[in-house]
Symmetry: C2
Subunit: 238 residues, 2 copies
């Protein structure tokens, strides 16, 4: 897939703050971060623009500077469903580069998004300056594995209404600047494996308590502490 625009070069300080705040780059030395920005290609995708497909072997590793990316997964070649949404500082698409496999997920921009892309050439240049790059990439893959294991733990919560709350709490993490999400009820249901009826019932309950606000195609967490407390104490099955 060709991005809408592609260029090298680093805009002024602060532009890449979102990328650097993620779990991986925040652990890397400043010199590594700067070099990564210098060699990486900037790529811009519009809303609904596909970035990669399950089955392709695009070897680019992609990091999110701004915007958000939907990760679609399918079980045994069934219809893909929205598995999760990732945002600034998160990376995706490492499989083809690290194990020479095809992509196992599809990725779509959910809003205008800026990415940094590291293909074979960029990684080679980065490794010239940082010969321990493979070790750093092993750390990235492990962080990814831990992150996805967290999704498993979330999907093992028995009650649908609590899974819905858990997804909202995760996607609206404090500091992410995301207290309001462009998110439909059916997308929320896909990520929480909850029926449309469950989602609508749960959101109604949560809105009545002032914990969330539901707009057209948007959901906002209004009271994070309250939603956490509701998650911990609620035992109703939606």
């Amino acid at each position: 897939m060709e991005p809408i625009h592609d260029a090298r070069g680093a805009p002024g300080d602060g532009h890449f703050a979102g990328l650097f705040a993620g779990a991986w780059l925040s652990r890397q030395p400043a010199a590594f971060r700067q070099h990564l920005i210098a060699v990486g290609r900037r790529a811009f995708y519009g809303r609904r623009y596909p970035i990669g497909f399950e089955g392709d072997d695009d070897r680019r590793i992609l990091g999110i500077v701004s915007g958000s990316i939907g990760c679609l997964t399918s079980h045994r070649q069934h219809m893909p469903v929205l598995g999760t949404i990732i945002g600034p500082g998160q990376w995706f698409g490492m499989g083809p580069q690290l194990i020479g496999s095809e992509r196992i997920l599809s990725f779509v921009a959910r809003e205008p998004s800026e990415l940094i892309s590291l293909g074979d050439t960029e990684l080679w240049r980065l490794r010239e300056a940082f010969p321990d790059l493979p070790q750093r990439l092993a750390g990235l893959a492990q962080l990814q594995s831990n992150h996805i294991a967290g999704l498993v733990a979330e999907l093992l919560v028995p009650e649908a209404d609590r899974r819905i709350a858990a997804v909202l709490l995760r996607l609206c993490e404090p500091g992410s600047g995301k207290d309001s999400l462009p998110l439909s009820q059916s997308e929320l249901g896909e990520m929480a494996n909850a029926s449309r009826a469950s989602v609508s019932r749960t959101l109604r309950v949560l809105a009545q308590r002032g914990l969330v606000e539901v707009g057209y195609g948007r959901i906002a967490v209004e009271d994070r502490a309250g939603l956490e407390a509701w998650f911990e104490t609620s035992r109703t099955v939606a």
Copy 2:
């Protein structure tokens, strides 16, 4: 955790076949596999023996030679549940070594199991012979990430009865030598996020059709192709 027995050394050919058949080592050259066995420590765990706990920082990377290991996960410090069961050729516990983090899962032997363990010293020795070890470990972490993403896809299957079938199909993979699993109905329910009633109803239906056989604390897949066909066509909600 101290294993029941611990020793270096490689028994005769064939002993490590299970370890080598897994997704990671099967891609490594024979010289690497042999060196790994030579430097690795063998460790034996009895049934129900804990191997590692969520929150510990044991830096050993562990590979399964024989037996099976239950991986327990907990969401927001709630009661741990059985997330999955892994067997010969699979590796676990890479987090502390690769990102210096604490373990995010707990691991328990489900039957007498033999493991190969690679701690700091063993990895250092392996790296002396194979300076590209970090790259190989990046591949291992990526394979792990792909594997766990598969669990997410499975848990996003909407119908509980089909999730139950999917778990059985995954755990009884052909070639794993596991057509019968030491598995209780409540453990199956935990892994599939299905209620006890769903599990018992689904197993009854599958047994009536001759697809599975349910014994005391054991479940056997009798007709794998039939179970796959049932998974693909069934749309009943258990």
